[in-house]
C-alpha cells in the first residue's frame, strides 16, 4: 500500500517536481503513471524509495511514513522496493551477474545462492546467457533487461519502473510488459511509468496522469490485451542477441507511438 497525502516536492532552485498530490495505491495493484516529459513521473517514484524527500505532505509505504524515516533505515525500505531506473544505472565495471546479485550479496547469500537467484532472475528477462558480460557489451535493450532483473532479484513488495520500455522495440516492450503483469499477478505492487499511451491502451488498468507536477487524471482504462501469457519457463532460452539495429528492424507490429505531449 502506497499513500500520498498532499505531497509537494520542490527542488532546490524552486522547480516543482510534484504539486499537491494525494492518492492511494492498494497492495497488489498495477498502476500506470503517465504524462509528458517533465511532468513529475520520476519525481513521484523517487519519493517512494526516498531518493528524494517530500517538501510538504507525507508518504506512507506499507503504513510507514517514508518522509521521516531515519537515514539508517532507508536501506531497509529500499530492499523491499525494486526500482528500474530510467537510465538503468548499471555498474559499468561489474558483470551482469555482479550487477544483478549485488543486493543478494549485501543480504549475505552465499556464492552459490547468489548465482542461483541471479540465474533464475536473468532467465525471466531472457538474459541468463549473458551473465558474464559487462554492461558495455550489451545493447540498450539488454541493459534495460539487466536493470529489470536487478529490480526483481529480491522479490520486492513494490516494483517501480521508470520508463522500462523506453529503450526497447515494440516486441520486447510487450514482453517486458507481460513480465510486469506476471510479477503483478504474484502479488507485487507495480508502478509503471511510461509515456507510451499505446502500451497502456493495450493493457488497461488504472492510469495516473501527471502534468506540470500535478495529478491531472486518475482513471481506469479498459485494455485490449489478453491476460498475460503463461510464463515462458517451458520455452527455450531467448534467441541470441541481435544488435540494436537488428532489434528495431523488422518490427512485427507498429505500436501506437503517441507519447503525450512529446514535442509539445
Amino acid at each position: 500500500m502506497i499513500e500520498f497525502y498532499q505531497v509537494t516536492k520542490r527542488y532546490p532552485g524552486g522547480q516543482l517536481g510534484l504539486d499537491d498530490v494525494s492518492l492511494q495505491i492498494p497492495k497488489g495493484e498495477l498502476v500506470f503513471l503517465t504524462g509528458p516529459s517533465g511532468a513529475g513521473k520520476t519525481t513521484f517514484l523517487k519519493l517512494i524509495y526516498r531518493e528524494e524527500m517530500a517538501s510538504e505532505g507525507y508518504i506512507l509505504v506499507n503504513g510507514r511514513n517514508v518522509s521521516n524515516l531515519p537515514e539508517r533505515k532507508v536501506p531497509y525500505l529500499r530492499r523491499t522496493i525494486g526500482v528500474v531506473f530510467q537510465s538503468f544505472r548499471l555498474i559499468p565495471r561489474k558483470t551482469v551477474f555482479e550487477n544483478v546479485s549485488y543486493l543478494p550479496r549485501v543480504l549475505g547469500l552465499d556464492a552459490k545462492q547468489q548465482r542461483k537467484v541471479a540465474y533464475d532472475t536473468l532467465r525471466r528477462v531472457g538474459l541468463a546467457h549473458r551473465m558474464n558480460a559487462f554492461p558495455m557489451q550489451l545493447s540498450g535493450g539488454e541493459q534495460q533487461r539487466v536493470a529489470i532483473a536487478r529490480a526483481l532479484i529480491n522479490r520486492p513488495d513494490i516494483l517501480l519502473a521508470d520508463e522500462p520500455t523506453g529503450n526497447l522495440d515494440p516486441e520486447l516492450s510487450e514482453e517486458i510488459l507481460r513480465l510486469f503483469l506476471e510479477i503483478n499477478l504474484e502479488g507485487t505492487t507495480v508502478i509503471f511509468a511510461t509515456h507510451d499511451r499505446g502500451l497502456i491502451r493495450r493493457v488497461g488498468r488504472r492510469v495516473l496522469t501527471l502534468e506540470d507536477a500535478k495529478l491531472r487524471r486518475d482513471e481506469h482504462l479498459p485494455g485490449e490485451m489478453v491476460p498475460p501469457a503463461p510464463r515462458r519457463r517451458s520455452e527455450p532460452e531467448a534467441p541470441p542477441d541481435a544488435s540494436p539495429e537488428m532489434e528495431s528492424a523488422g518490427l512485427s507490429e507498429p505500436v501506437d507511438a503517441d507519447p503525450i505531449g512529446a514535442g509539445a
Partner: protein, 311 residues
C-alpha cells in the same frame, strides 16, 4: 551477512581497487613507507644510544680523591660517611700504592713519571659504585657537594655529568624522531585520505547505485576502509623490511665504531609490529577521514538524461 563474510567481501573489493589503481596506491604506500622508515631509523639509533648510556650508567662510579698525606683515620671517616649515604653501593679504597700499580700496568711507558714524586706520587681514592636504580639525584648531589668542601678531599669525580649530557642528546633525538615521524605520518594520512577520496569520487555513480538498491553505509564504506588499512599495512611492512635491509647493509659495509655503536642491535619484533600497526592505523584513519559526512556523494544525482526526448 555475517561480519566475517562482509570482511572477506570488503577485502576482495579493496584488493581489486588497489590493483586496478596501483599507481596511486603505490604512492600512498610509499608515503607511509617513507615516514615509517625515517621514524624507525631514528628510533633504532636512539634506542641503541640509550642502551649504551644505560650500560655506561651501570658501570659508572663516583671517585673521591683524597688530598696528599691524608691519614687513614680521616680516610675511614669519609668512607663511613659515604657508606651511610643511601645512593652508595660498594665502596672500595684505592691506596696510593695500588694507584701506582694500576698506573704502571696501564701506561708502562710512562713509568718514569712516577719516580720523581717521592713516596706518594698518586693520591689515595675511594671508588663508589652507585646503584642508579634507587638513587635520589638531589640527595646525592648535595652529599657530593659536602664532600667537595671536606678539607681532606681533593676532588670528586662524577661520571653522571657527561652521561647526563649524552642522555639529553638521546632524548633530543627521540623527540626529533617523534616530531618528524608524526609530521610524516600525518602527511601519509593525508595522502591516503586524498587517494581514497579520489577513488570514492571515481566510483561516485556506483556508490549511488549501491545506496539506491538498499546497501547500508557499512557495506558501502567497508571496502574503502579496508583499502586504506591495506595500504597502511603494506607501507608499514615495506618500512620494516627496508629498515632491516638498511641495517644489514650498514653493518656489513660500515666498519666504524660509530656504526657498530649506533646500530648494534636491531628493533625487536614487537617494535617492528608496532611499526606495521602504525602504518595500518594511519591508512585506516586516512580512509575514515576521507569518507566523513557527505563526501560519498549522498546528494541526489543529476536529473536523468532519459528517454523522454525519444518518441
Amino acid at each position: 551477512m555475517t561480519f566475517l563474510q562482509a570482511l572477506l567481501y570488503f577485502t576482495r573489493e579493496a584488493s581489486v581497487n588497489l590493483i586496478r589503481g596501483w599507481k596511486v596506491s603505490l604512492l600512498a604506500i610509499l608515503t607511509i613507507t617513507l615516514s615509517l622508515f625515517l621514524t624507525g631509523s631514528f628510533f633504532l639509533v636512539s634506542s641503541n644510544l640509550s642502551q649504551l648510556t644505560k650500560t655506561w650508567r651501570g658501570e659508572s662510579k663516583v671517585v673521591v680523591y683524597f688530598a696528599p698525606g691524608t691519614d687513614s683515620a680521616a680516610r675511614d671517616r669519609v668512607r663511613g660517611e659515604i657508606a651511610a649515604a643511601a645512593w652508595s653501593g660498594e665502596v672500595s679504597e684505592v691506596s696510593p700504592e695500588q694507584a701506582a700499580t694500576r698506573f704502571r700496568s696501564a701506561f708502562p711507558s710512562l713509568e718514569d713519571l712516577l719516580e720523581g714524586w717521592g713516596d706518594e706520587p698518586l693520591p689515595a681514592s675511594l671508588e663508589i659504585q652507585v646503584d642508579w636504580s634507587t638513587v635520589d639525584g638531589e640527595a646525592m648531589r648535595a652529599d657530593l657537594e659536602t664532600l667537595r668542601t671536606d678539607p681532606v678531599v681533593d676532588m670528586v669525580d662524577d661520571d653522571r655529568d657527561w652521561l647526563a649530557q649524552l642522555e639529553t642528546a638521546v632524548l633530543l633525538l627521540r623527540g626529533l624522531a617523534l616530531v618528524l615521524g608524526g609530521v610524516l605520518l600525518l602527511t601519509a594520512v593525508f595522502t591516503i585520505a586524498s587517494i581514497i577520496r579520489l577513488t570514492a569520487y571515481l566510483y561516485h555513480d556506483e556508490i549511488a547505485v549501491q545506496r539506491l538498491v538498499g546497501a547500508t553505509e557499512f557495506f558501502i564504506r567497508g571496502p574503502f576502509y579496508i583499502e586504506g588499512l591495506l595500504q597502511g599495512l603494506l607501507g608499514g611492512t615495506l618500512a620494516a623490511a627496508s629498515l632491516a635491509l638498511g641495517h644489514w647493509l650498514a653493518l656489513r659495509r660500515g666498519d666504524g665504531l660509530l656504526v657498530s655503536v649506533l646500530l648494534e642491535r636491531f628493533l625487536v619484533p614487537s617494535q617492528l609490529l608496532l611499526l606495521v600497526t602504525l602504518g595500518g592505523l594511519a591508512g585506516l584513519f586516512g580512509a575514515v577521514a576521507s569518507l566523513r559526512k557527505e563526501s560519498l556523494g549522498r546528494t541526489a544525482e543529476v536529473p536523468d538524461g532519459g528517454w523522454e526526448e525519444e518518441v
